[in-house]
């Protein structure tokens, strides 16, 4: 299962990047990037998974005493939480940029925004 998640994650990253590289529409690029970052999150979580163990939450089933034998690694999960929130921030910013860019040139085609070059 870990491998399934990992491979899916990597595939999503590659698909997302492919979309970002080949779609000229800014919004579509943004969508593609959000798919790629979902893939990243999947990879992160999958790396921390240990087969046959439970979530790192102590309750009736898992006590503090046997926690280290029963739970999976909490660190990747903490990292992914952070990454998700940051990803949202960047996406929101890209969207705002897209809107502002559209306002200046009335197009979302990224190849039209090449006033700066060379």
């Amino acid at each position: 299962m870990v491998y399934v998640a990992l491979i899916t994650g990597f595939l999503l990253i590659l698909m997302g990047l492919y979309g970002a590289l080949t779609n000229r529409n800014i919004l579509r690029m943004t969508v593609a990037f959000s798919i790629a970052s979902t893939g990243t999150h999947l990879v992160l979580v999958a790396v921390g998974y240990i087969p046959g163990r439970t979530a790192p939450i102590l309750d009736g089933a898992v006590t503090a005493a046997d926690a280290s034998l029963r739970i999976i690694d909490p660190v990747p999960q903490a990292l992914v939480l952070t990454a998700i929130v940051i990803g949202l921030g960047v996406t929101a910013l890209m969207l705002t940029y897209a809107y502002k860019l559209y306002e200046t040139k009335r197009t979302l085609d990224i190849s039209k925004y090449t006033d700066l070059k060379w």
């Binding site: 998640a5 919004l27 579509r28 943004t30 798919i35 921390g48 999960q77 559209y102």
Partner: protein, 84 residues
């Protein structure tokens, strides 16, 4: 147990890849955004399978929920949202 989960994860993986394909190649932009949201949603189910409920909640609320709405807010402002 493990086999069930394996099959489930396989199905989820296929669903994610398929949604991602739709998101990237789909005709309309709203379709793409929704499909991307679906990828997130499937991912959050996957996170549950991977014993990461915190992440699952976050991905569902933020990744598939808020992000999708943000996209729609902006798409509402931008006429050129169609493929051009």
């Amino acid at each position: 147990m493990s086999t069930v989960m394996f099959v489930m994860s396989l199905l989820l993986a296929c669903a994610m890849i398929a949604s991602a394909y739709v998101a990237l190649r789909g005709q309309s932009l709203s379709m793409a955004v929704l499909a991307a949201g679906a990828v997130s949603l499937f991912a959050s189910v996957m996170f549950v399978l991977l014993a990461a409920p915190d992440v699952a909640m976050t991905e569902a609320a933020i990744g598939s929920g808020l992000t999708t709405f943000l996209f729609f807010f902006v798409m509402g402002r931008v006429k050129g949202g169609k493929d051009d």
